[in-house]
Symmetry: C2
Subunit: 120 residues, 2 copies
């Protein structure tokens, strides 16, 4: 398993259940039982996902022996976003190119008299 | 292996070599050989990483049989960033709380006359 923090964060996010757990924790702290409910999942299965999130520093647990509520820790998500932001210019370039292409396509179709009747 | 696109993207990013390959491709297209050079890695090892990046739609390969240059496709990175952006308020709250805590700590230390001499 990768040990650098960024790899641990991305690895923890690479699962829809773990992402759903984080989304649930944005509404407030929750016990393992409360987290398990919407997923129709066993407590051990949810606990396993929580351990991955804890190792990545995305979730912390309370100290009370019985209750131990889970809490979202968003710090590592900031680091992941900072890494991704460096690529913003590249996806914006792609969107610009797509938009130009669609504009050109539209112009060609209009010039060829295909502008109407194409929708039905 | 997870099959939803977001899980594939995060999974592909959960490795420092794959992130370094993407960083290299921001400077332009590159062959597998060129990508392998800085990593002191065998061509098959680099090819394996490239396959993961290709499956996640983060890299495409050219058609020329011999050359097949690799190209960065940043679209999936936008989707990953869009997902992470929903958590921005949570990490900003954490930073605000940390800042307030440090301010309070500073005020307490100043009041107690510990403001100077604490550094050496």
């Amino acid at each position: 398993m990768q040990s650098d923090p960024l790899s641990q964060t991305f690895s923890a996010l690479a699962d829809p259940t773990r992402r759903a757990i984080l989304a649930r924790l944005t509404t407030g702290e929750a016990t393992v039982g409360e987290l398990a409910e919407p997923f129709d999942m066993s407590l051990p299965a949810v606990s396993k996902h929580l351990k991955v999130l804890e190792r990545a520093g995305l979730v912390t647990r309370g100290r009370e022996a019985q209750w131990r509520p889970c809490k979202l820790e968003a710090g590592p998500l900031k680091d992941a976003t900072d890494w991704l932001e460096r690529y913003r210019q590249f996806w914006e370039q792609s969107l610009d190119r797509l938009e130009r292409y669609l504009d050109e396509l539209q112009m060609t179709r209009t010039k060829n008299g295909e502008g109407n009747g194409g929708e039905s």
